[in-house]
């Protein structure tokens, strides 16, 4: 789309335990080029759970290197396990202040409403950066991720910290998307990323109708054509499409740069 910087708000580069990490990182950038994605907000996650401190430190170091390898294309989320209270806090501050990372990525080590997450939320508020939080809502099976967060947990965290910029991850890869969208209706501070492999028609339209385009962030989470396609195909105004594709994320990222 002309006249808008397209920002993928949820992407991943590859852990160096993957022998093909360098080639796979390059493939992601090449695919972004083909699809007109200007910037990717990335984190790197380790393969093991729960996340050890050494592991998240490795991931953030790999990511800082990648940001230098692909100048102007990658923005960094600092990935931590909030259970390491002091070390996670120090890691986020260091990577934001010294390496220019733009946010925090949390996975499923803890639920978003657990007190152990509060110090990271407070730090994110202080640094004026968003937290992108892994999410999913599955209604019928025992979750293979027992501490996965859903929109209800985010709404609770957002009530406690209304000034926090919290992003609920992958509405199209996190189970019942209708439930997620409806649950976030009354949590106006929570953004929703549109990524995921599920190509269901109508997701974006319902999210715009229920939450407003201002709260939606284009993202792929590595499902690139599904994610680009759903924004291209959504029956929404071009003005709303521009907000989703990049303007909203730019607004989030500008809060820190305009301190």
């Amino acid at each position: 789309m002309q006249g808008v910087k397209v920002i993928d708000a949820h992407a991943h580069l590859h852990h160096h335990g993957n022998p093909n990490w360098s080639e796979d990182d390059r493939k992601l950038i090449d695919a972004a080029d083909k699809l007109g994605i200007d910037q990717l907000c990335c984190s790197i996650l380790p393969p093991e759970r729960p996340t050890r401190m050494e592991s998240f430190r490795d991931c953030n170091r790999y990511l800082a290197e990648a940001i230098r390898r692909f100048p102007g294309r990658i923005r960094g989320y600092c990935f931590v396990n909030p259970g390491y209270t002091k070390e996670a806090h120090d890691e986020v501050r260091r990577y934001v202040e010294e390496h220019g990372f733009v946010g925090v990525k949390l996975y499923n080590d803890y639920r978003a409403n657990e007190p152990v997450v509060f110090p990271i939320a407070e730090l994110a508020i202080e640094l004026k950066i968003p937290i992108l939080h892994h999410a999913g809502h599955v209604s019928w099976l025992p979750s293979p991720q027992p501490r996965i967060s859903d929109a209800g947990h985010f709404a609770e965290l957002a009530r406690r910290y209304p000034e926090l910029m919290l992003i609920c991850a992958h509405v199209c890869g996190g189970g019942d998307w209708e439930w997620t969208i409806k649950t976030l209706r009354d949590a106006p501070a929570v953004f929703l990323d549109t990524s995921g492999s599920v190509a269901d028609e109508g997701v974006v339209e319902m999210a715009v109708r229920t939450l407003g385009a201002e709260r939606l962030l284009f993202a792929c989470d590595m499902s690139l054509t599904a994610s680009v396609g759903r924004i291209r195909g959504a029956d929404i105004s071009d003005a709303d499409r521009k907000k989703i594709l990049g303007a909203n994320m730019e607004r989030i990222l500008s809060r820190r740069s305009s301190r």
Binding site: K27, A31, W140, W177, A199, E201, L224, G229
Partner: protein, 257 residues
Amino acid sequence: MIDVNAYLGHFAFRQLRHNTADGLLRFMDRKRIDRALVSSAASITYRNAHAGNEEVAAEIRNHRDRLTGCAVLNPVYAGWQDDLKTCHEEFGMKALRLYPRWHNYKLTAAACLDMVHKAGERGLAVTIPMRVEDRRQQSWLVDIPDVNRDEAAALIEAAPRVSFILTNGSGFTASRLGRKNNGLPANYAIDISLLTAELSNEIGQLLSNLGEDRVVFGTGMPFHYADPALTKLEILDASEAVKEKIRHGNARRILKL
């Protein structure tokens, strides 16, 4: 452009839009899709799946130039032989769609093989959606895994003279179905609706492993947006001649359109 993976009617667990013949045609016009193979979304959960075929036949009666009917039948339900005859001879349907997980049978069951052979004798193609919905978002009422790829391979092997189209699937290259020189007859094609055209590029791998005649265009509309599949075709690293086969040539041959 021919879409081999399209639906009409209501689905039990989620509201669909563009799910009437007129609505789907308007949607297809916007996406420049000329023709679609359509089956009943309701038949996925109807006990008597044929009631959905009757609904689809009535919907597409005046649109057969663009909407081609596809029967949904259950080989372990009463009367499928009569229903197959009706779908073919009266409704003019060109294919049969199977839901083994939802209709509670195995693709390798004798009853299924019998129905597939009967469809093949009538010149109908057989399509198998590997999934209806992502399992993570299914209703609390159901627990339906994807169709087992090895089971699909066994059926394909057991019915070498029948033409198959596998839709709504991925991960084929990790199974026998997507491997080069896999020993299976070349009687099946795979639709692109849930395949990748970038990163792992499963479409490219299937073109290389199975050949350019074995990949077809499908969207899953109106369950799915059409644009993900259109975007895949746009960025696919393949010649225009190959893309034309994917857009319509292969489907036209398999469905005898």
